[in-house]
């Protein structure tokens, strides 16, 4: 058994909140640059040039890429042989978010009640997702999630008879409905299977997977390629101004499901698809 002080989690979460908001992952940068090279419209090229210049400024000057520095989604893969000491783990994570959003001059965008509102002032609470895995290390991922794109996400409980076509149509419908609102070019996370809640979680996890990787099942890897191509035939384009680049990536994650169902969730993200990981 390995003992880990929860203060260590606080330190790592603080650091990851700041780094994720200032530095876009390399795979996302590459995907944007590849799309710029393929784009032919003047407005579309101009938008992508500005997007590239923007993440380069953020990198160079250590400032947030986007002013919506998001809700802090914190994923923990906890080795089953780890014992946390020195305090409450959830509070340690929230303290990391509190410090990171303060020290990093990040925007505090969380309200304490969904209906009655009221800013919490420190961007807490974090959205915490834990998973118990073999081993004695802890993998911490912080993915700040903006809500311009979160608001355009969708979930549907399909009948099995809707089959693959039902899922394909739902992906296209969701992206078309989103249109210019989620700051395209977007990244599309698709979760299929499990239960209502697990499908949504899979979709969010799909957004954390690097864009230069494919689903390990060739059936779903092919579906990722096919759906990305279809989305980019819609013509919505960068910022919705028309063009080839509507999405820079589409990842699918799946789980077994019930004989009576086929849940499908689609989590939309913008071109600022941020996440940063550290293993303790």
């Amino acid at each position: 058994m390995r003992e880990i002080e929860v203060s260590k989690i606080t330190d790592v979460v603080e650091k990851l909140c700041i780094e994720a908001n200032e530095h876009l992952p390399e795979d996302v940068k590459c995907a944007i640059k590849d799309c710029r090279a393929c784009e032919d419209g003047e407005i579309a090229k101009g938008v992508l040039d500005n997007i590239i210049e923007n993440f380069e400024i953020a990198d160079r000057e250590n400032v947030p890429i986007c002013q919506d520095t998001g809700m802090a989604c914190v994923f923990l893969e906890i080795g089953q042989d780890v014992h946390f000491t020195g305090g409450d783990l959830s509070e340690a994570i929230n303290e990391g978010v509190r410090r990171g959003y303060d020290k990093g001059y990040l925007r505090k965008s969380v309200v304490k009640d969904p209906v009655r509102r009221g800013n919490t002032g420190d961007n807490t609470p974090a959205m915490i997702y834990t998973e118990i895995v073999p081993g004695e290390s802890v993998k911490v991922t912080v993915g700040p999630k903006g809500f311009g794109s979160e608001n355009m996400s969708a979930i549907r409980m399909f009948k099995p008879s809707h089959g693959l076509q039902g899922i394909k149509d739902f992906i296209i419908e969701t992206v078309e409905t989103a249109g210019p609102n989620p700051c395209p070019p977007m990244v599309v996370g698709v979760g299929i299977g499990g239960t209502f809640d697990k499908a949504a979680l899979l979709a969010k996890k799909a957004l954390m997977r690097p864009l230069d990787t494919s689903n390990s099942d060739p059936f779903y890897a092919d579906l990722e390629t096919e759906m990305l191509e279809k989305i980019n035939e819609l013509g919505i384009g960068p910022q919705g101004f028309g063009g080839k680049t509507t999405a820079i990536g589409l990842n699918i994650e799946t789980l077994p499901t019930h004989i009576a169902g086929m849940p499908c969730a689609i989590n939309i993200n913008c071109h600022v698809t941020r996440h940063k990981t550290e293993v303790i």
């Binding site: 419209g41 407005i43 101009g46 938008v47 500005n50 997007i51 210049e53 923007n54 993440f55 400024i57 953020a58 000057e61 400032v63 947030p64 890429i65 986007c66 002013q67 919506d68 520095t69 001059y105 990040l106 925007r107 505090k108 965008s109 800013n119 002032g121 903006g146 311009g148 608001n151 249109g179 210019p180 609102n181 700051c183 035939e233 819609l234 013509g235 919505i236 384009g237 910022q239 919705g240 101004f241 028309g242 063009g243 080839k244 913008c270 071109h271 600022v272």
Partner: protein, 185 residues
């Protein structure tokens, strides 16, 4: 080539702008999001003044990150404009003419734009670090309690924007996509 525009946004300038035009905007603009718009519209309903002169004014839908030491303002890209659709016609009815944001607008906003010669500009969503570079002055003028949503007076220089909806109701979101699909049949 982008056209340089100097504010205030007079009716004459507004009418000369067309959906799809790239512009570089210079002058004074005001920031406001949902909560600030709600307060201003409540004031107007009661016949009270709002914190700035709305005549020919341009409003930027933005909630910036806090400025780091030495910065004029933090990252400052546009938020989704649709959340201000409920308030935009009222703002235009008292003279505000320009709106800067991103995303689709409701037909009633477009109708008000045609009636009052309004212009809806798009700034690049997610390009907050780049857009902050164009903001040369920032002064908090009201609603300080709203934090990121407080009302700020900004002076911008050569802010890169695209006209999304013009005063005749032409819409780049519709026309740009149609033009691309026509070319790539």
């Amino acid at each position: 080539m982008a056209r340089k525009i100097t504010l205030p946004l007079t009716e004459e300038i507004a009418k000369s702008l067309h959906a799809g035009d790239s512009v570089l905007l210079t002058g004074t603009i005001y920031t406001s999001r949902d909560a600030g718009h709600k307060r201003m519209c409540e004031s107007l309903e009661k016949g009270e003044d709002i914190p700035f002169d709305p005549k020919d004014a341009t409003i930027y839908y933005v909630g910036p990150t806090p400025a780091k030491p030495g910065q004029v303002i933090g990252s400052a890209g546009p938020t989704t404009s649709g959340r201000m659709d409920a308030y935009a016609p009222t703002m235009m009815s008292v003279g505000a003419r320009g709106m800067i944001g991103k995303g689709a607008r409701l037909p009633e906003v477009v109708d008000a734009m045609k009636k009052y010669s309004g212009v809806y500009f798009g700034a690049i969503g997610g390009a907050g670090a780049l857009l902050a570079k164009c903001i040369k002055k920032c002064e908090l003028i009201a609603f300080e309690d709203l934090g990121a949503e407080a009302l700020r007076k900004l002076y911008v220089e050569d802010m890169p924007l695209v006209v999304i909806i013009d005063s005749e109701g032409n819409n780049l979101y519709e026309d740009g996509r149609k033009a691309y699909l026509k070319e790539h049949k």
